[in-house]
Amino acid sequence: MPLNKEGIAKRIAQDLRDGWYVNLGIGIPTLVANYVPEGIGVEFQSENGILGMGPFPFEGDEDPDLINAGKQTVTLLPGASLFDSAMSFAMIRGQHVQLTVLGAMEVSDSGDIANWKIPGAMVKGMGGAMDLVASAKNITVAMMHTSKKGESKLLPKCTLPLTGVNCVNRVVSNLAVMDITPDGFRLVERAPGVSVKEIEDSTAGRLVVDGSVPEMAL
């Protein structure tokens, strides 16, 4: 059965390593914070100026001066720090953040990503996404494998304006975990009960299947 959003977040959380600083984008990526494995200490960076971001505040404790990059009210954990936007992107461009998780409209099999604009229809802006994908060493995309119309979002080439080129390392979708390789998407894991065939059918870009592909252990 394909994963829901929480399942995708849970699978990505398994990739976290102790001591990492992690930037989570808006949407599914935000949920990753809820599934940090036991014994793994990570600090979440919010590009509007937080290291050590904590959960949402208790009702009544909301502070308009303490929000995350998605403009949601948040809290700070012990050891947190606050800083300005130049410092925040210094951390990001300077590769001090070990993992970036963000959503995408399209990903190409060479690691290009598009997530900020649909010409003539939608323009929200790239926010910090272009800085993040151009800089981070380790970029995971969290996304649905196909659009609402059933079209693959994993393509040979992006059709939408790009956010970054040749930068995505891993895609975790509702169907699979895939790493970007010179040969295209390499299938790493299947969602529980999802067949290789099903993934192949939903992937328009090159998909490399090496031997038997394990199911995710969630």
Partner: protein, 232 residues
């Protein structure tokens, strides 16, 4: 040094149609509310606004956009304001969308006397169109230039007469860099104190970057996304 002006009206004196304005804040967090509201009472039009976001429909830059005072908007993310998106898609409003880190760094660069710098952000995208590309350590970068402004409007938590500013929480965001980049920087603060009251070691923006300072009358500080968890 005493940079205190009597009120918001004096603070924004000299802002004229056609000028370039920087406006601090991230979303509606850390916005110079009083200066924006006062600007909306003037007959200033055709301004170029440099601000990370476009406010929401009825608050922040939204009120300037609604009145069509803004000719051109330079921002990184405008997803929270439908009227903005409408004006942009219809072509009424000129828009330059640029990466958030590049926006922050271009403001800092102006303030720091760095006319241009190389960044990897935006390489291979439409942001890079027409810009110089250069490879450093095997990685392509694009050349970005400093952003200067005629006026920078910023908002801090506390400030003193000398113009020293301390921000609070994530309301800091773009305010410090924009303060550096304004030909005239107008700082509004929630609390204006004497020059002996702030710890010199804890100043976020040294007063040298601020030309005018005043205490805002009221601060609404709306919350865009009120997210909470239940008390257990």
């Amino acid at each position: 040094m005493d940079k205190v002006v009597a009120n918001v009206k004096q603070a924004i004196e000299g802002i004229e149609s056609g000028m370039t304005l920087m406006i601090g804040g991230f979303g509606v967090c850390g916005l110079p509310e009083n200066a924006i509201a006062a600007l909306a009472e003037t007959d200033v039009v055709d301004v170029t606004c440099i601000s990370n976001n476009a406010g929401v429909a009825d608050f922040g830059l939204g009120v300037l956009l609604k009145d069509h005072r803004v000719k051109k908007m330079i921002a990184s993310y405008v997803g929270e304001n439908d009227e903005f998106e409408r004006q942009m898609l219809s072509g009424e409003l000129e828009v330059d969308l640029i990466p958030q880190g590049t926006l922050a760094e271009r403001c800092r660069a102006a303030g720091a006397g760095i006319p241009a710098f190389y960044t990897p952000a935006g390489y291979g995208t439409e942001v890079a169109e027409g810009k110089e590309v250069r490879v450093f350590n095997g990685k392509p970068h694009i050349l970005e230039h400093a952003f200067h402004a005629d006026f920078a409007l910023v908002k801090a938590w506390r400030g003193d007469r000398a113009g020293n500013l301390i921000f609070k929480g994530t309301a800091r965001n773009f305010n410090p860099m924009m303060a550096m980049a304004g030909k005239i920087t107008v700082a509004e603060v929630e609390e204006l104190v004497e020059n002996t009251e702030l710890d010199p070691n804890q100043i976020h923006t040294p007063g040298i970057f601020v030309q005018r300072i005043f205490q805002g009358d009221t601060y609404i500080k709306p919350i865009e996304q009120r997210t909470v968890r239940a008390r257990s």
